[in-house]
């Protein structure tokens, strides 16, 4: 089930929350777990068993670790947990990619498995791994209650697209949490903003990218290519961060505090900064469970650069089983290494605007690698962007820019902290009218956005059938 659907907004959401708030005490976790399993099974009626398997497996590993903590065997149990998680992830996500690569290299033709990717598998396997690792390290207590642990893994808000919540971040609240009126109201508002980002911004500007990505790069002007990749940059940002907002909002309504996942990444003045603002929960996961255990920056320059390379190779293929994702990760590793070595220093001397433009360029080239899967199309597209592919501008590029101009303007503003700061300014000013305006806006704006988003969701299925087409 996705959040931006009629079935979620007008069936699942009201029912779950009414029951959740009515049921007292410990019963809430049972409601949340059953609801979450239903939520997942709605989209994955078979793979829900796989998720249950992962849950039970890591629960047992956790219990075992609790018994023999500190002993040598603990290492083996941790290894077993991590191996099982990675094996599941590899089998469902990377098997075909590996087979394909193997076939290309050897010239053989091992048949592909063609398994559909279980929704959210990359997210929940990373979550459960954080649990066993933390228990092994003694940074989290063993969870003896299977129900509480099940809630941690399956919890519907972040199950499908993050943020990746580390076990110890929610440990205390799994057992004992409270959502007061202000939490619920903040959560609801956050949800509405997220929904609007997804439905009104991402989906609409995504139409433009669909148009451009289907064109032949050979017949495209540079203007069209730039308009297209900007559209994609906004689509993926508002889609992903909107989803995170909805997850964080729903979590807050349940009494959880999920970590922030995005902090206006497109205003970053360096790639290093960009990755502190983009998909923060994934970056911090890799940092904590890969980069630092590998030695981080404590084992000399060379080792650090190697560690960066390893982390970004993994980050790349975490996003998808394809060479272009690997390339995408390495592209960022390259920029990050340069910034570590000397470029970061230079950037800090230059005006911030230069840094923002440079970062945007690196990121946009990254999106080309990310969004277009075949090497031919990627190269063709980059060539056109560089102005080496024929015309610099044509009517089509102007037309697309004109059609989506207002949306672009809104997207640019919404990608900066501007609106948030304006609201904050009103709230903190102690004058009566400003506060009144804030109080009015904080209710009416989310409500209006919610209504418009519903219109967007219903309209997406608008498909007049023209039987008298002739």
């Amino acid at each position: 089930m996705v959040f931006s659907s009629v079935v979620f907004l007008f069936r699942f959401l009201p029912l779950l929350f009414i029951v959740y708030y009515l049921v007292p005490g410990r019963g809430k976790n049972l409601v949340l777990l059953l609801g979450s399993l239903f939520f997942y099974a709605w989209g994955e009626p078979v793979y829900v068993l796989l998720m249950l398997f992962s849950t039970v497996s890591d629960y047992i590993h956790g219990r075992l670790l609790g018994r023999i903590r500190g002993k040598r065997a603990a290492k083996g149990i941790l290894a077993s947990s991590v191996l099982i998680n990675l094996a599941v992830l590899c089998f469902f996500k990377y098997a075909d990619f590996l087979i394909q690569t193997f076939n290309t290299v050897t010239g053989m033709s091992v048949p592909l498995l063609a398994l559909p990717l279980p929704i959210g598998i990359s997210f929940y396997t990373f979550q459960t791994m954080s649990y066993t690792i933390d228990v092994y390290r003694g940074e989290a207590k063993v969870q003896k209650n299977l129900l509480d642990f099940g809630v941690y893994v399956a919890m519907f808000p972040q199950l499908i697209a993050g943020p990746i919540v580390k076990y110890r971040d929610v440990e205390a609240r799994l057992h004992n949490r409270k959502a007061d009126v202000e939490n619920i109201s903040d959560g609801m508002k956050r949800f509405c903003f997220g929904l609007a980002k997804k439905v009104l911004l991402a989906n609409n500007i995504g139409e433009l990218w669909v148009l451009v990505s289907e064109m032949n790069p050979g017949e495209m002007s540079a203007l069209t290519a730039w308009v297209g990749i900007f559209a994609y940059a906004f689509q993926i940002y508002f889609d992903f961060s909107g989803y995170s907002d909805m997850a964080i909002g729903l979590g807050e309504m349940l009494g959880f505090r999920f970590p922030e996942n995005f902090r206006y990444p497109y205003i970053s003045a360096s790639v290093t900064e960009f990755w502190r603002r983009w998909h923060i929960s994934l970056g911090s996961w890799f940092r904590e469970y890969v980069y630092i255990p590998l030695g981080g920056n404590r084992k000399g320059r060379l080792r650090q650069l190697l560690n960066i390379l390893i982390v970004w190779t993994l980050t790349g293929i975490w996003h998808g089983a394809g060479w272009n994702f690997l390339l995408w990760g390495l592209w960022f590793a390259f920029a990050l290494v340069l910034e570590k070595l000397f470029f970061g220093k230079i950037l800090s001397w230059l005006p911030k605007a230069v840094g923002i433009v440079y970062t945007m360029l690196v990121v946009l080239v990254g999106w080309v690698l990310f969004a277009l899967e075949s090497p031919g199309r990627i190269l063709g597209y980059l060539r056109v962007m560089a102005g080496m592919g024929g015309r610099l501008a044509d009517a089509e590029g102007f037309y697309l820019g004109r059609q989506y101009g207002v949306l672009f303007l809104i997207a640019v503003l919404a990608a900066t902290p501007l609106f948030g700061r304006a609201a904050e300014g009103l709230r903190k000013s102690r004058t009566g009218p400003a506060i009144a305006l804030y109080r009015f806006g904080e209710k009416v704006i989310p409500a209006a956005l919610l209504l418009l988003a519903i219109a967007g969701i219903v309209d997406a299925s608008y498909n007049p059938f023209l039987y008298f087409r002739f």
């Binding site: 659907s5 009629v6 079935v7 907004l9 007008f10 069936r11 959401l13 009201p14 709605w42 989209g43 994955e44 009626p45 078979v46 009126v181 202000e182 619920i184 109201s185 903040d186 609801m188 508002k189 509405c192 009104l200 609409n204 064109m215 032949n216 017949e219 009517a395 089509e396 102007f398 037309y399 004109r402 059609q403 989506y404 101009g405 207002v406 949306l407 109080r439 904080e442 209710k443 989310p446 409500a447 919610l450 209504l451 418009l452 519903i454 219109a455 967007g456 969701i457 219903v458 309209d459 299925s461 608008y462 498909n463 007049p464 059938f465 023209l466 039987y467 008298f468 087409r469 002739f470």
Partner: protein, 373 residues
């Protein structure tokens, strides 16, 4: 305290939106048919374990919920007005042109050279075998260029038509494009529908008469009479906006003398106009009773001449104008015909031979023109 109260109201407002529409959606019964979308709406899917495990059940259930959602038409209108507020000039593949013109979008590059050539060679075979005349009518985006949104891209049919003229030879090709271009400022296409108007067809008729050396003065422009003033066509359905309706005109002279019209070999009527359609949404069906595989028209003009028309729906308002020129007119829509075309035509060809006319708009021609010899 103040904060708490404000938060409480926020919760009330936002939950009210969700709960009210949830409740209303439960109360409202299912519709089977949507007038606006002109289609059957999804039904509650049938439950079975198999369909659940395949993922089909939940998918269908979502379609069902969304298509039956309370106030569906209103929500769609809200979204359309939101798009307008964002200054968009195209909705659902339709350009919002100047003067209230809705213009169907056909993007450049939709048809490759090879596809164009294939269709033209197929047409050429028919033309050479039957010594046929061809009228390929450009769509509105190519003619009403002044009314298109600024910079709007369109599939340029002028190039394609040049190729067609060259392939078929000028004795077989009637240049409708130039005829319509000359009158681009007039009402030659509907504002809310993708067809040409009766006036547009009349300019086509003039080009036909001139090209074949026939009299072209049987009807004057002023003889056109309206039959309805509230036609909202297919393009209006696509954008679902409140726009000004079109009028449909006809030439009463074409019905002056009795005709016998036989639809699909069985259904015999005494007119090639069907007024009943004017009460439905599909008012263009007034001409030649909407779409039929095969129509035979017997006229009162006993000149021994026969015409065989192979056509799309653009011809529906055009064919009646040719009634005074022929004793018999056969009209064939290839989309509904599976037999061998040439053999079928031979069956209807009188000893003294017959004229053959192919009339399509360019897009329908490229999409749908196909036959077996």
């Amino acid at each position: 305290m103040e904060e708490k109260r404000s938060a409480f109201f926020t919760i009330m407002l936002l939950s009210a939106i969700i709960l009210i529409f949830t409740a209303a959606d439960f109360i409202q019964g299912d519709r089977t048919f949507s007038e606006t979308e002109n289609k059957l709406l999804a039904d509650r899917p049938e439950w079975s374990w198999d369909s659940l495990i395949e993922g089909k059940y939940t998918r269908d259930y979502e379609t069902y919920l969304t298509e039956q959602f309370v106030g569906r038409d209103k929500w769609i209108t809200v979204k359309t007005y939101l798009d307008l507020a964002l200054q968009k000039q195209e909705i659902n593949g339709v350009y919002l042109g100047a003067d209230g013109y809705l213009i169907e979008q056909h993007l450049p590059g939709t048809y490759t050279d090879v596809e164009e050539t294939k269709k033209l060679l197929l047409l050429d075979k028919l033309v050479k075998r039957w010594d046929a005349t061809v009228m390929l009518v450009p769509t509105a985006d190519n003619i009403l260029t002044d009314r298109m949104p600024l910079w709007a891209p369109y599939y340029d049919q002028a190039d394609f038509l040049e190729k067609a003229a060259l392939q078929l030879g000028s004795e077989h090709y009637i240049d409708v494009y130039s005829a319509l271009r000359r009158h681009a400022a007039e009402e030659i296409y509907y504002r809310t529908d993708h067809h040409w108007t009766t006036l547009g067809a009349w300019y086509g008729y003039l080009a036909w008469a001139e090209s074949l050396g026939r009299r072209g003065d049987l009807y004057g422009k002023n003889a056109m009479q309206p039959v309805t003033a509230d036609f909202l066509g297919t393009l209006q359905s696509k954008v679902n906006l409140d726009v000004q309706a079109d009028s449909i005109f006809w030439f009463p002279e074409t019905a002056e003398y009795p005709v016998t019209v036989t639809y699909d070999l069985k259904d015999i009527r005494s007119s090639c106009y069907e007024e009943s359609y004017l009460k439905t949404k599909n008012k263009y069906g007034f001409f030649l009773d909407d779409n039929h595989a095969f129509i035979e028209i017997d006229t009162d003009y006993h000149n021994g001449k026969t015409l065989f028309v192979i056509k799309d729906s653009y011809a529906n308002c055009f064919v009646p104008m040719l009634i005074p020129y022929y004793e018999k007119i056969y009209v064939m829509d290839l989309r509904y015909f599976n037999g061998r075309l040439f053999r079928f035509m031979e069956g209807y060809e009188p000893e003294e031979g017959m004229d053959v006319l192919v009339l399509y708009n360019c897009i329908h021609f490229l999409e749908d023109f196909a036959y077996l010899e």
